[in-house]
């Protein structure tokens, strides 16, 4: 089985996000980038599948700040191949990203066969389309499902049996012929932790390949009129003071509503 995982860096939303002077994009100076959460789960699922069913894992990412660290970490977790697509991809959106990723197969750098399984994060938080996987599936003519949380492989029948989430804890089981594109919501186990020392050591022994791919003609989508912050503080009344003061006030609020008895 050849598993290909496409990874994407997104702004870390734990940090404060600053809107740039144009009012239409984020101020890149203050951004800290990290691997998109669902992508981290896609990588984990790929490594789990390799451990269970054998095969190889290739990870592919567009060039971005901190991406090499992410690619080396993927190698340390068990990926056999790490590929970087060099270029300045600022502002590129999902449909163009899908074109770029699809070029990896047409360029011959990666095979697309009945033994290929392609995994991506089900969603990303950083563009208006928010989903790369279904666009990639359209270009490749491969079946697709999103919000996937578990995969079994039947190599003989060249198919994947996947679990997809609905709502309220209800899930469904589906079968897809390979090659297939899956949007991963969560791996069946939490992403493994890799000690920094192991990443440092793999940096010395492994290398990141670069595959030159010419950028799609159109990289962005609809022009954004403006970005703005939601009115967050508008609703909550903020309680301030020491732990004791805040606790006393909370108990008062709960008692007023009969939510705490004596």
């Amino acid at each position: 089985m050849d598993i290909v995982v496409f990874l994407k860096m997104v702004p870390d939303v734990v940090e404060e996000l600053v809107i740039g002077e144009d009012g239409k994009s984020l101020d890149t100076q203050s951004l800290r980038m990290r691997l998109s959460d669902p992508d981290e789960h896609a990588l984990e699922e790929a490594v789990i599948l390799k451990e269970k069913f054998g095969g190889t894992v290739a990870v592919v990412a567009m060039e971005a700040p901190e991406v090499e660290e992410v690619l080396f970490t993927a190698r340390a977790k068990g990926a056999d191949r790490a590929v970087k697509l060099p270029g300045d991809w600022t502002g590129i959106q999902a449909p163009a990203i899908a074109k770029l990723f699809a070029s990896l197969f047409s360029s011959g750098s990666q095979q697309l066969t009945a033994h290929t399984l392609i995994l991506l994060g089900s969603q990303a938080i950083d563009d208006l389309e928010g989903e790369v996987a279904p666009y990639l599936a359209e270009i490749l003519g491969a079946p697709y499902l999103g919000v996937v949380t578990g995969i079994r492989l039947d190599e003989e029948k060249k198919k994947a049996i996947v679990m997809k989430e609905f709502a309220g804890g209800l899930r469904g089981e589906f079968e897809l012929p390979l090659p297939a594109v899956l949007g991963i919501q969560a791996a069946e186990k939490p992403p493994r932790y890799i000690p920094v020392a192991k990443v440092r050591s793999i940096m010395k022994s492994a290398r990141i390949e670069t595959v030159e791919i010419s950028p799609p003609e159109i990289v962005s989508g609809l022009p954004v009129d403006r970005l703005f912050m939601p009115e967050v503080a508008g609703k909550a009344e903020m309680l301030e003071g020491s732990a004791a003061e805040v606790s006393a006030r909370m108990i008062e609020i709960l008692a007023e509503r009969g939510l705490i008895g004596r």
Binding site: Q123, I125, E129, P143, A167, F228, V232, A244
Partner: protein, 324 residues
């Protein structure tokens, strides 16, 4: 006159989903503002009863077909494309839900129309349709306009009041006769939710933990708080994905929708997927270190602090209060 607006009705196991009414409500307003007809379409098996509830639309199209029990995004996108071309539809609303994931991008690709996801608001200004989407986990909002009022829009659940999409009017139903393509994807079965030790949807008091809880060992302190309050512990997705609490405790998009009398959130940032599942709680109190955390936007009371600085005192004070 504007070309028609189409709502893709969503249903699961024969029940119409709230998102359908949300879209019908905002779709009705949009159609009236633009002087356009509002259409709705239902694809499914034995689905006519669902269609009868959508009288707010000017026309309800129904395709009832044995192969449409749980259609794949491919099949739905293909049917929508045919219908849109036949009826000259310009704007399509699709639910931003797990059930409908992937249909919008596929349709936008096939029709070469823009796709806008995470949509929280839709308005008309000078005859032009504008959309507000939430990006970066709800921390930033983005306004765009649709050129020619044409596009595929994924509506974020909980953005519009469902009641606005309900009507006593008899639905004008037109049965469709479209060819359903053979899907490469086979639906095998539903997997029922695992019965947890506690049903969080039936609790009056929930203490919810998010990423801010930092590690599994800290859950014990939260359990203690829930105990003294007489409630149960639930969590946002990252905590569940880490395996620190069972799936049955998950609140949000893929998990449970809860409406307790008290929802006390600890270290939960308030990503839209989480807020969707708890925003209608009676009283929401949140503790988070980040003063700009979106959770404060849906909370009645907020405390900007490290939960570990507050919790030990809070637990002791509640014990004292109860014994007093």
């Amino acid at each position: 006159m504007q070309e028609p607006i189409l709502v893709l009705a969503e249903h699961l196991r024969g029940a119409i989903a709230d998102i359908t009414y949300e879209m019908l409500g905002v779709g009705r307003k949009l159609a009236d503002d633009l002087k356009a007809p509002l259409y709705s379409v239902v694809f499914g098996k034995d689905i006519v009863p669902v269609a009868s509830h959508m009288g707010i639309a000017d026309s309800v199209f129904v395709l009832d077909h044995p192969q449409l029990d749980m259609p794949s995004p491919d099949v739905v996108a293909a049917l929508l494309k045919t219908l849109i071309e036949q009826k000259n539809v310009s704007l399509v609303l699709i639910g931003g839900t797990n059930v409908s994931t992937g249909i919008g991008p596929k349709l936008s690709f096939r029709l070469n129309l823009p796709f806008v996801n995470f949509c929280r608001n839709i308005w008309v200004k000078d005859g032009s349709v504008g959309l507000t989407s939430q990006l970066f986990g709800g921390k930033i909002l983005s306004d765009v306009r649709l050129p020619g009022n044409r596009g595929v829009v994924s509506v974020y659940p909980g953005s519009f009041p469902p009641d606005a999409g309900k009507s006593d009017r008899k639905a004008s139903i037109e049965m469709l006769d479209l060819r359903v393509e053979e899907s490469k994807i086979i639906f095998n079965k539903y997997i029922e939710p695992e019965a947890g030790d506690i049903d969080i949807t039936k609790q009056d008091i929930l203490v919810s933990v998010g990423r801010g809880i930092a590690n599994a060992d800290n859950i014990a302190m939260v359990e203690e708080l829930a105990n003294v309050l007489g409630g149960a512990v639930c969590a946002s997705r990252p905590v569940i994905d880490q395996g620190w609490l069972p799936l049955s405790r998950q609140v949000g998009k893929s998990g449970m929708t809860v409406k307790p009398k008290l929802y006390l959130s600890l270290g939960v940032s308030g990503a839209p997927e989480h807020v969707e599942g708890m925003k209608d709680s009676g009283l929401i109190i949140s503790i988070n270190t980040d003063s700009s955390a979106p959770i404060f936007g849906v909370s009645h009371y907020g405390i900007c602090a490290d939960l570990f600085d507050i919790l030990p005192t809070l637990i002791e004070e509640i014990k004292t209060h109860k014994s007093g």
